[in-house]
Symmetry: C2
Subunit: 393 residues, 2 copies
């Protein structure tokens, strides 16, 4: 999967993910300028404030910040962290990986250095068809009921439910998706090996087995107030839209919603009684640009502009099983080998060329097929899944 | 108050208000063409379908409709109806009266022929600063609580609460306004002497004593399904905005809200639990162009673009008492006789000429002052109220 240079880059990003706090724009700028290995190198091999030539190594970035980076980079052991995640059956994704969710690029210099991931699914494919459900920890029974109901409805229609694994709305959302045997992603503000909160140990373990547990902090990292806040930008960026279900004024969920709006994602809110302080934050949002939603259909109506395609999964669940019949039918008609022209695929499928082409573009956006010259071919993921379906792996 | 011609016009409109159903656009067009006396005359003095010259008297209007108008116009006794309303201490307003609420002109050919009014307040002045609160008859305790709470909040801040006197939300809204010793208007779909529903006899009597009871149907008229629906356009047109509090899908309250939107009024909705069928209609509205509101302040923020001026009242409550201090101060400075130039009023008040002029325009829009040449003078209403304040009437 990775040549030596790529491995160096991955190791450097793993080390930096321990040295740098999430969402650090200064680090993001230096990363953009020097690359991960260059940035790490400069961090480890320059003096505290002045390099050999007498220049500051990171002009414009405060010395205390650089000192903290350096201290933590020196202590970092990326090989051990990469071993840890591997032993957990997980992986450390970096930009450029096929599984890297490209919508995170919208975060610019606050894009995560990498993502520590546990679980059998393909994060990129899932994120393409995902919705964030977020809300209060101390929610009411009404809020918990509504979150679970929405999650179940979304999952049943092939949508991936993303949340933060917290008590209250988050937990209800994950459980609602799991109850429908659906797809769910927990985005943590700590290491993916040290779930928080402890009371959700079992829930997070189940998500790691059936869905995905994701975070930008290396193994054994603990959550802090600012990490919770910055985690919210990941939830917003990963998904096609964010639904807030119960939030007081100045709630963290409103941070997620505003981040989603800034990133051009849909923001939605579930209303509640005006007499409930736990709906006040949602109503505030709905008095702005957010859209009021009352059920999963209304959410999908808003975010679902890519037809009825469903996410692919890695592992036991075959991606094709969740595709709409028409798309699955076209995918069947794409030969296992070689680029094939649209007309040939259309003839094999027995559908018109326009309809075939539209479906191929949909399959392309989901990572099942890719263009090669004038033709189409299956991607590796699609081929793997196809093999699995035919009795392989 | 009325010369002989004006009386003829008023009598003709009273007769027509018995002959023609509310909101009849055909009648509205003939009224515009012939005037009330001309229209009535043509109705009473032409043959069933063809006049003396052999032409149809109302080409383009179906014969059955004309026959029904004629039948009812022949049976009408406008003098008796005008006596009845007078005996009740009420009045029959027609366009052109100083108390006629001019915003009803926005209804075009469906503008009411006249308004049968009971109660001590000045309808035109009140309507300038009014909000409609409407909603389900079979509301929940949450809906009733919210309606009463909103009404009390609006009334406390000098806003007039308009509703339809029905059970449920309407009743709660009227009662909430009365509880705050505030202003409220009941717009009925029947004669103002024969309140409907019967269970609200006492409530409607109280409104007639402390507020206004208004309708376009002559005394002793009974409500029908279509009269209820058409009454809603009056509520929408009279007010600066309509707030819907609990409504099922396809509720009559949504008709009012949509009428308000068509008339360029603000439409608002109070959200509720998504699990409540009685909030489903409101949520539908809020997913469109309506604004979500949770309290009286948010309603006023939207509709209150005329500062903190309050409605004038006729009778025991003095209009000036509800004016914002700055406006009341300027009003004090307008001499009882006269047109007086702005500069003189500014000097008497001790305020700058720009500020004085702005306040004068506000007072003008509320009917306290009027322009005469280069100066300003008190209107009759303002003079009456002023006299009352100084110990008169």
């Amino acid at each position: 999967m990775t040549g030596p240079t790529a491995m160096d880059e991955r190791r450097a990003r793993a080390a930096l993910s321990r040295a740098v706090e999430p969402g650090d724009e200064h680090a993001g700028r230096w990363l953009r300028r020097y690359g991960a290995t260059g940035f790490l190198d400069r961090l480890l091999h320059t003096a505290d404030s002045v390099d050999i030539s007498g220049d500051e190594p990171f002009p414009g970035t405060g010395r205390r910040r650089v000192a903290s980076w350096r201290l933590r980079a020196t202590a970092a052991d990326p090989d051990r962290d990469l071993d840890t995640i591997r032993e957990l059956g997980g992986r450390f994704l970096v930009p450029g990986d096929t599984e890297w969710p490209r919508q995170l690029d919208d975060l610019g210099d606050t894009r995560p250095l990498g993502l520590w991931v546990r679980g059998p699914a393909d994060l990129r494919t899932w994120a393409l068809r995902s919705v964030a459900l977020v809300g209060a920890r101390a929610c009411t029974p009404y809020g918990a009921h509504t979150a679970a109901d929405l999650a179940t409805g979304l999952a049943r229609q092939g949508w991936v439910v993303v949340s933060g694994a917290a008590y209250g709305i988050d937990g209800a959302a994950h459980r609602g998706a799991l109850a429908a045997a659906g797809a769910t992603v927990a985005v943590l503000a700590c290491g993916v090996d040290t779930p928080y909160p402890r009371g959700h140990d079992q829930l997070i373990r189940r998500i790691a087995e059936q869905g995905l547990v994701v975070g930008e902090l290396p193994p054994d990292s603990h959550p802090t107030a600012s990490r919770f806040i910055l985690r919210n930008r990941l939830i917003a960026a990963l998904t096609r839209g964010t639904v807030v279900i119960e939030a007081q004024h100045r709630s963290g969920s409103l941070v997620t919603a505003r981040a989603a709006a800034r990133l051009g994602r849909h923001t939605m809110g579930v209303p509640g009684p005006v007499t409930s302080a736990l709906s006040a934050g949602v109503h505030e949002l709905l008095r702005g640009d957010a859209t009021l939603v009352t059920d999963a259909e209304e959410v999908i109506e808003l975010v679902g502009d890519m037809g009825q395609l469903a996410p692919a999964r890695r592992g036991p669940v075959l991606p094709r099983d969740l595709l709409a019949p028409a798309a699955a039918h076209i995918l069947e008609a794409v030969p296992a080998r070689g680029p094939t022209p649209t007309t040939v695929i259309a003839r094999r499928a027995g559908t018109g060329p326009d309809d075939t082409l539209a479906r191929l573009y949909e399959l392309h956006s989901l990572g099942f097929v890719e263009r090669r010259g004038d033709g189409w071919q299956l991607t590796n993921t699609a081929t793997d899944a196809s093999n699995a379906r035919r009795g392989g792996t």
